[in-house]
């Protein structure tokens, strides 16, 4: 099954996280940053826990990272995700402290720390899923 046939799609209009998905549609990996003190707000939240500011902005960063961890799922728990497939957890190079999740078909050879590169999977007009491939 390809990604586009899947029914589990992200809510893209949430006030706190919608900017991430708007960026994805434009082919950008975005993180939320405090406009006052520069703290990375990940997961995205409107309030800066460091300085108390409500001012923030989405920042496009490079679509490169390192593999933090991964798992090959072999026991199916959802009809839209036949096994095996692999879930990757990626540390963004350009935004220390930010991690994103990706989906890979099958069970590719992987190693913690290896370079990963973003790929943008257009599912429909609303949803583009940033994915992560071995670089």
């Amino acid at each position: 099954m390809t990604q586009s046939q899947r029914r589990v799609l992200p809510e893209t209009q949430d006030p706190d996280t919608g900017g991430f998905w708007e960026g994805a549609r434009l082919g950008e990996i975005r993180v939320l940053e405090c406009s006052s003190c520069g703290t990375l707000l990940h997961m995205p939240r409107a309030y800066c826990y460091r300085c108390g500011s409500w001012d923030n902005h989405w920042k496009a960063v490079a679509g490169t990272g390192r593999l933090h961890s991964w798992t090959v799922v072999e026991h199916q728990v959802h009809p839209d995700f036949p096994t095996p497939y692999t879930v990757v957890l990626v540390d963004l190079d350009a935004a220390p402290g930010a991690r994103l999740v990706g989906y890979l078909d099958g069970a590719p050879e992987l190693a913690v720390g290896q370079p990963m590169r973003a790929r943008f999977e257009n599912v429909d007009d609303d949803v583009t899923l940033p994915q992560w491939d071995p670089a």
Partner: protein, 395 residues
């Protein structure tokens, strides 16, 4: 040590314990299970049901305070508490009950957890059924669309990372599963009582989410557990030896991350649990350290969860959990015998509450894997995202 610690320490006790049978299909409602465990605990405490005047429940339970109060004939329900979230709750539920007793809000507080976790709502299945997932501060939109759907998959990512950082082996995780199984083999009430488990069985079992195999996962279970918390003074009159509540703590990490569970993968480290903060506070409140603990019931939704907590609760250094468990330290006769009923891995998954019951058995000297002369027992409720824990001791 502060005055606050002394205001709590040993002031209350667990005077009664009760459980249902643990099965794959109870054929009973969550409410009936809760009632059966509650009646057993109240009788065990030497009380009449109507003498209960406080009830503490878990936020994920389907059974409410008034459901139980009605059928128990509680005339004056004076205290109702809810603790979140899920498996993080049980130790804190006991703590909340004790705090209510100390504050004079209630005298005899029933604490329960009931779930048809196998025949009803299974936590091992995905609940992502809508066309759009996430939003509203759940952050599920960053996880479910990528097939990251269950707690087991979260802990698989954590286990893989622990292996990469510290060289932890699959045979280390196996030792946790095998140890719990051996305890279940001695416990006639355990679901896996009659089923031996060997290292070959473990390694040959199917992979669920690498590196976690079938026997790294707990047993989704139908069942209920309950305890009665009262003052240490009143507990002296109960039929069984009271298990004094030495200390209770709740803890979270700095930057705990929002959401129910998946965003914990965004923390600086995923190989340290909130167990660390919970443990430090617990030991301080108890005036005790790991070396004072005779036996422990570790929250074991998965084998790796136990390994992380052994480190975070100070039984070994961070990263050394693998060699620690593989050298037999968690077995009977080891430094810290664990999960003496078989735990969630081999007795039954009653979401942390069965660990409280087994801890009381150890203090009473009635466990089917009794640690000789056990004076103290640690209970952990520290999966994700925050945690709680308690220490019981003999009077």
């Amino acid at each position: 040590m502060s005055g606050d610690d002394l205001a709590f320490r040993d002031r209350c006790a667990i005077a009664g314990i009760g459980t249902t049978d643990f099965t794959r299909n109870s054929g009973r409602s969550d409410f009936t299970l809760a009632l059966q465990a509650s009646l057993a605990a109240i009788e065990d405490a030497g009380l009449a049901p109507g003498e209960i005047d406080g009830i503490v429940r878990c936020d994920l339970d389907l059974v409410r305070h008034n459901d139980l109060a009605h059928v128990l004939g509680v005339r004056d329900l004076s205290y109702m508490g809810d603790v979140s979230v899920g498996g993080v709750a049980p130790s804190a539920m006991v703590g909340q009950a004790a705090a209510a007793v100390i504050a004079g809000l209630a005298k005899n507080v029933l604490v329960f957890r009931s779930l048809n976790g196998r025949s009803g709502r299974r936590y091992g299945r995905s609940s992502a059924t809508q066309s759009k997932v996430g939003g509203n501060n759940t952050y599920d939109e960053f996880f479910a669309p990528y097939g990251l759907l269950t707690s087991g998959q979260i802990f698989a990512l954590i286990a893989q990372r622990h292996m990469a950082e510290f060289g932890t082996k699959e045979t280390d995780l196996a030792q946790i599963a095998l140890t719990c199984r051996a305890r279940a083999n001695a416990n006639p009430g355990a679901q896996m009582h009659d089923r031996k488990l060997t290292l070959d069985d473990y390694l040959n079992a199917r992979m669920i989410a690498s590196p976690l195999r079938l026997f790294d996962f707990c047993l989704e279970t139908d069942g209920a557990c309950a305890v009665v918390v009262t003052s240490a003074e009143r507990a002296k009159d109960s039929p069984n030896p009271p298990a004094l509540i030495r200390a209770v703590s709740q803890g979270a990490m700095l930057d705990p991350q929002p959401g129910v569970q998946f965003p914990v993968l965004m923390r600086d480290t995923i190989t340290t649990l909130p167990a660390k903060a919970t443990a430090d506070k617990l030991y301080s409140r108890a005036g005790m350290g790991p070396s004072d603990i005779d036996v422990a019931q570790f929250y074991d939704c998965f084998s790796i969860t136990v390994l992380l907590q052994l480190e975070d609760f100070g039984f070994c250094a961070k990263g050394e959990g693998g060699p620690f468990v593989s050298s037999g330290e968690i077995d009977m006769g080891g430094t810290i015998p664990i999960n003496t009923s078989g735990g969630h891995l081999s007795d039954g998954y009653v979401h942390g509450m069965s660990h409280v019951v087994e801890a009381v058995r150890q203090i009473r000297g009635t466990s089917t894997s009794q640690v000789p002369g056990a004076q103290t027992c640690l209970v952990t409720s520290t999966p994700l995202p925050p945690g709680s824990a308690l220490i019981l001791r003999a009077s």
